[in-house]
């Protein structure tokens, strides 16, 4: 394992310390916690809190800023943060009009945020929760816990954050978030694994000529393992899966996100973007906007994901609102 760290079991403390110092103008660490909050809140606004395991940077602290999140709760590597920490975040950002929790659909996250919500409600803070489940690699059947939340989560932060900044009520903010959730779909792939610092070993093994389609952002096994194909073939395979699942068709309008998983160079993400564009053009699906970069990573995993968000006037307008979050400036 080659990493620039100190003690493997202390990476989160070390990271959060350096994180808080990286953006002192906007961020503040809530003392005694691993919560990064906005220094100055927009008065009276509905609060937006997200978070999850670490290792997905810039998620979620990178999305803390005016127009997006009010606080991000930082868990251990790939491990949901605990209810007490989430509760601290909720208390810190609530201004009397309630708080929306944006949670990625993993058992751990759902349970911990749920319990934090219960703690908050017990203290009279109104809390609502939305669960993002954009990863179509997982079948959404009765025999699974449903789709995972992956890179599409960033669009939920953006639309919910913008809606809240406009002065909307908790229910309205929740409705915008849920609308975004129903309209966003993602699928990823990997070329090589990541290493959880305290585990010290790669999370899975792929042969030199293999790739894994449908991988999760914690190295969860995907739907298919096969020989590496060309950028064009991979881009088309993932996009076609998303199109099929989403029922997007000619005349629809989407926002595209090509998200790097960690060690895939931006060069390759741009190459993928070219092919996704070609395919969408061919199908007469118009592209409203494009995001290429690292938005939801998996430590140093090599690979990428494609996200398509179907947009309408409301979503486009919410995406266009200003955001001061470092990792998603608008």
């Amino acid at each position: 394992m080659k990493k620039v760290i100190n003690q493997p079991n202390n990476v989160i403390e070390d990271m959060v310390k350096g994180m808080a110092l990286a953006n002192e103008a906007q961020w503040q660490r809530i003392e005694g916690t691993n919560v990064i909050r906005r220094k100055e809140l927009s008065p009276g606004k509905v609060g937006i809190v997200s978070g999850g395991g670490s290792g997905h940077e810039p998620a979620h602290a990178g999305y803390v800023g005016k127009g997006m999140l009010d606080a991000a709760v930082v868990g251990e590597v790939f491990t949901s943060p605990t209810p007490d920490q989430i509760f601290e975040a909720i208390k810190a950002v609530d201004q009397g009009n309630g708080v929306l929790l944006v949670v990625k659909n993993y058992t751990g996250d759902v349970l911990n945020f749920e319990m934090a919500g219960e703690l908050a409600e017990a203290e009279g803070i109104r809390v609502e929760q939305v669960v993002v489940s954009d990863d179509i690699a997982v079948k959404d059947s009765d025999n699974t816990i449903g789709r995972r939340g992956v890179a599409g989560t960033v669009f939920v932060h953006k639309t919910a954050g913008a809606k809240a900044e406009q002065g909307a009520s908790l229910d309205e903010v929740k409705a915008s978030a849920e609308k975004t959730i129903t309209q966003v779909r993602s699928m990823g792939m990997a070329l090589s694994p990541c290493i959880v610092p305290d585990a010290g070993k790669p999370s899975f093994h792929l042969e030199e000529d293999e790739m894994e389609i449908g991988i999760g952002i914690h190295g969860e096994a995907g739907t298919e393992r096969k020989k590496i194909a060309s950028a064009q073939e991979i881009a088309e395979e993932l996009t076609n899966h998303i199109l099929e699942d989403s029922g997007l068709s000619a005349g629809d309008e989407v926002v595209v996100m090509i998200n790097g998983m960690g060690s895939t160079p931006e060069m390759e993400l741009f190459i993928v973007n070219g092919h996704v564009n070609d395919l969408l053009n061919e199908k007469n699906i118009s592209i409203h906007d494009t995001y290429v970069g690292e938005f939801m990573t998996s430590l140093e995993m090599a690979g990428f994901s494609i996200t398509l968000l179907k947009v309408d006037t409301e979503i486009k307008q919410l995406l266009a609102e200003a955001s001061e979050a470092v990792a998603f400036r608008v």
């Binding site: 993993y106 058992t107 349970l111 319990m115 079948k139 025999n143 816990i145 305290d198 190295g219 969860e220």
Partner: protein
């Protein structure tokens, strides 16, 4: 049967098993999860040990509540709230009893097993820690007298039974049929908990 001292020993021994098997638990989670169960449990039970060693209690229930709150706030992931809930329910069920005898403990374990299922929206057979807690609690209730040896054996068998199950809850459920053939990590950590209990009661 379960005195405050024994409850303390129980946590101490559990912590030892967890620390000794940190890598093994993580490996189990690597096969069908996200490679952190050993890390999570190790972090959590180390804190439990620190907590209960230094504190003094006037009933077992209070100790169990500390265990619950510590696990809840230190473990994270899926297992944190589930173990936390288990100990919280156990604490409530045994509250007010000077000595936690076999019957009171039966109620405590049943409450814990049910707590996990409610919180996790899960039942037996879904390849989760429920598959250790649920049969263990049922078995306990049926015994005239708890044999430490049998307690360990029942827990072990329950853990091993998860190997051939297909996961429908937790992270392993993404793997569907590919989850078969691996022991569920949460069941393995639960097994260590009951193995430690057996030794304390022996």
């Amino acid at each position: 049967m379960l005195t405050i001292q024994k409850a303390q020993d129980w946590m101490h021994k559990t912590n030892q098993y967890i620390q000794d098997n940190k890598a093994y638990l993580t490996e189990l989670d690597q096969a069908i999860g996200d490679s952190d169960h050993g890390i999570n449990m190790s972090r959590g039970f180390q804190e439990v040990e620190n907590k209960v060693e230094s504190a003094s209690y006037d009933e077992v229930s209070a100790l169990l509540k500390d265990v619950a709150m510590t696990l809840m706030s230190k473990v994270g992931g899926a297992s944190g709230p589930l173990y936390g809930t288990a100990f919280l329910k156990m604490s409530t069920a045994v509250k007010g009893n000077d000595t936690v005898d076999q019957d009171v403990m039966a109620a405590g374990l049943e409450a814990a097993a049910q707590g996990i299922q409610q919180r996790g929206k899960s039942t037996a057979g879904e390849k989760t820690m429920v598959d250790v807690w649920e049969p263990l609690a049922s078995w306990w209730k049926e015994q005239d007298e708890i044999s430490a040896e049998n307690l360990e054996a029942v827990a072990k068998e329950a853990m091993e039974s998860t190997k051939q199950m297909e996961a429908t809850k937790g992270r392993a459920s993404y793997l569907k049929e590919k989850s078969v053939g691996h022991i569920d990590p949460g069941s393995a950590s639960s097994y260590y908990l009951f193995k430690a209990l057996a030794e304390v009661l022996a």
